[in-house]
Amino acid sequence: MKTFIACAALAALQLFSPVAQAEAAKEQFFPLLVYRTGPYSPNGTPWANGKQDYIKLINARDGGINGVKLSYEECETGYATDKGVECYERLKGKGASLFDPQATGITFALTDKVPGDKIPLITLGYGLSASADGGVFAWNFPLMGSYWTAADVLIQHLGKKEGGLDKLKGKKIALVYHDSPFGKEPIPLLDERQKMHGFELIKIPVTAPGVEQKSAWLQVRQARPDYVLLWGWGVMNSTALKEAQATGYPREKMYGVWWSGAEPDVKDVGEGAKGYNALNLNTSGQSPKVIQDILKYVHGKGQGTGPRDEVGSVLYTRGLVIQALAVEAVRRAQERFGKGKVMTGEQVRWGLENLALDDKKLGSLGLTGVIRPISTSCTDHQGSTWVRVHTWDGKQWAFSSDWYQADEQILKPMVKAAADKYAGEKKITRRTPAECQS
């Protein structure tokens, strides 16, 4: 008892003293919000490993960014919002200059906090779709794509399969989604597309975390949709595939968002998932140069975060890409605010708003083929969505489509409208071009 109290007291001291060693040593500090435990850990882990390995790579291969070493600290959120907020507050105090919350719920909570703290949020491929509008969401960066762009591309792809979007008329498309903000985000866009093309959209919610899907799939079987869009995360994906098999729904007709198309989702389903398709923002596999470098400089030196064979897997690479973009944002910021300096949150935001990664640059980073070129601006915090469909052949993922790009005609007005609604609720005034330069 006494000893316990003693420990507690000791720890409390540790706890309540805000540590700031990051700035002290001339290092660029990257807070890593992760979930390696809980229902989503199988997907959260490779993602987190990718991010960490890339930081290690930059330090080992390039000696940091223009000589500025990168430091990092992980904080376990377990995908829980309040824990995520605690992590944010804790790591913020250690000189964090950008965050990747790695969870939609946490993103929502932090979106309210970051403007006050002047720290940008990277939410690559997730978060609030409307936050692509930099005029209102000054600190959010849904780089490369949001759920709306994903849904848009999926419909485009289905249209292509049918031989033209007009052919979707009268078709039935079921959306099996994770019953949370994450799963609900795509609905507005799908409704929009439904109006345009006259297909029938059937919405089937699955209660988180998604281990109970029997009735959902019996509904699918009874509705006999032509396609099923799968909007799941974590265990929900593999369960969905198993239930699809158990109710005899053809996997070839199932299309997942880019969070429903990774190894953990299909691994233990194996042959059962054969023919299942999903979007993917990045390549998978160990061929790209950057992956090779990681194997050489990080895993080669026994510094690897996760198991070696996980390197290059879909979510691992996604994490890597996120971290790469973060690093490039810092590099870009340094070009303006002084090479070899530690960048503040505001400066990193400028970097994020002025990303210009063309093929040449990507090549120098070893990211050729991993992603398409991306450039952002003060008003466009997303850059254009380039995404492909890949298909599980029972052993591995293989791309089965060419690059798609989301249809700006449809998205722009929706984003604008949603952003304005948000601005209204929160009483935010749009940024003027002048503010963009600060």
């Binding site: 008892m1 316990f4 420990c7 507690a8 000791l10 720890a11 409390a12 540790q14 706890l15 309540f16 805000p18 992760v34 390696r36 435990t37 850990s41 882990t45 987190a48 992980e74 904080c75 376990e76 377990g78 829980a80 919002t81 309040d82 907020v85 605690e86 507050e89 804790r90 913020k92 105090g93 939609t104 719920g105 929502f108 909570a109 979106t111 309210d112 906090k113 006050g116 609030l128 019953d179 949370s180 903000p181 609900k184 985000e185 609905i187 507005p188 919610p205 209660t207 988180a208 949603a418 609720e425 929160k426 009483k427």
Partner: protein, 354 residues
């Protein structure tokens, strides 16, 4: 030596029935409040305020509310998370739909919303007892979780189902800064703690405890089971509802139903039981334990100096958390509050135990 009540004689029943009969306690309480209201906001870091003290205060408030129900009236509830959720969403709707609705009013409205639900789910308690009731209250938990996700008007038609609130101000003063948020919560906590204390030392409180200890006897004395139980449910869920509203407005700022999931309910019950059933201070001890302990455990890798990857660390933390809970339930089933009380008893005689 210094903690004595010698020479403090009570000359009136009023004086005798005051909350802190011993002078030293009154002084201590005054000091405590002084520190809480003045010193803490001035000195403590943003992290301490935002990530520890604010959650601590809000959860103690919720635990206080739950203690009224479980600790004083003896009705086990596993649905507190739902009541917090209702509080938060009702408050949100008041703010979002009614132009210029003052913050405090919105928060209290959240409490009232929770009260309605509380009474509704309290009615079964007239027939259902013990564990049966406990599981029945889970119905509230799951139903509300679902409703908040499903019913569009609950979230004011936000496409994602997640809601957030614009900046907070009370009577023109902005409560954006951590210190201000902290003080707001502290204000609520102090007021409700006092009110609850008054209730439990009055006849209503006695009727609750009577129901808890021996319901048949209580009925024979002329206590109406219905009145006693429902009033307990009402008071309890009101406080919990306000706590929920604070959690959403002041702590998270933007939230989804998952923020009030079943684990929240379990945590609250832990706070009440580890802190001490049927004691006001217990709610605070319990909340401190449940809020701070995980943070302390997160620090394990540092001050054990062992290199530990995040996963192992948090698994270990989870294990130790569980183990400590069992440990406390074994060592002091009556909770930390009792521990504190016995310590004071000893101190009262120290250094001459006879």
């Amino acid at each position: 030596m210094f903690y004595r009540e010698n020479g403090q004689f009570k000359t009136s029943y009023a004086a005798d029935s005051q909350i802190l009969p011993i002078r030293q306690d009154r002084i201590g309480m005054a000091l405590l409040l002084g520190v809480a209201f003045v010193v803490v906001p001035l000195l403590s870091s943003e992290y301490l305020l935002r990530a520890i003290l604010i959650p601590f205060l809000i959860l103690s408030l919720a635990a206080l509310g739950l203690n009224v129900l479980v600790g004083y009236c003896g009705q086990i509830s596993l649905g507190s998370g739902a009541f917090m959720a209702v509080g938060a969403y009702v408050a949100y709707n008041c703010q979002a739909r009614v132009e210029g609705m003052p913050l405090i009013v919105a928060l209290l409205a959240g409490g009232l919303g929770a009260t309605v639900l509380g009474v509704a789910f309290g009615l079964p308690s007239l027939r259902i007892k013990g564990l049966y009731l406990a599981v029945a209250t889970l119905a509230a938990q799951f139903f509300v979780d679902w409703a908040c996700l499903r019913l569009k008007w609950v979230t004011n038609d936000s496409t994602s189902g997640s809601v957030g609130i614009a900046h907070l101000d009370v009577a023109g003063f902005s409560v954006e800064s951590p210190a201000a948020r902290y003080l707001l919560c502290l204000g609520f906590v102090v007021v409700f703690a006092l009110a609850t204390k008054n209730l439990v030392r009055g006849h209503i409180g006695r009727s609750w405890m009577a129901m808890r200890d021996m319901d048949v006897a209580a009925a024979v004395i002329g206590i109406r089971p219905m009145q006693a139980k429902l009033s307990a449910f009402a008071v309890s869920s009101f406080i919990i509802g306000v706590a929920g509203a604070l959690w959403g407005f002041v702590h998270l700022g933007s939230w989804e139903p998952a923020a009030f999931g079943i684990n929240r309910s379990f945590d609250l019950l832990f706070m009440v039981i580890i802190g001490g059933l049927g004691s006001i201070s217990g709610a605070f001890f319990g909340a401190a334990f449940i809020v701070v302990l995980p943070l302390v455990l997160d620090k394990l890798p540092y001050w054990t100096g062992l290199p530990m990857d995040t996963a192992t660390a948090s698994h270990l933390a989870l294990m130790i958390f569980g183990a400590l809970i069992v440990f406390f339930l074994i060592k002091e089933p009556h909770g930390l509050a009792r521990l504190w009380a016995t310590a004071k008893e000893k101190l009262r005689l120290w250094p001459f135990p006879h």
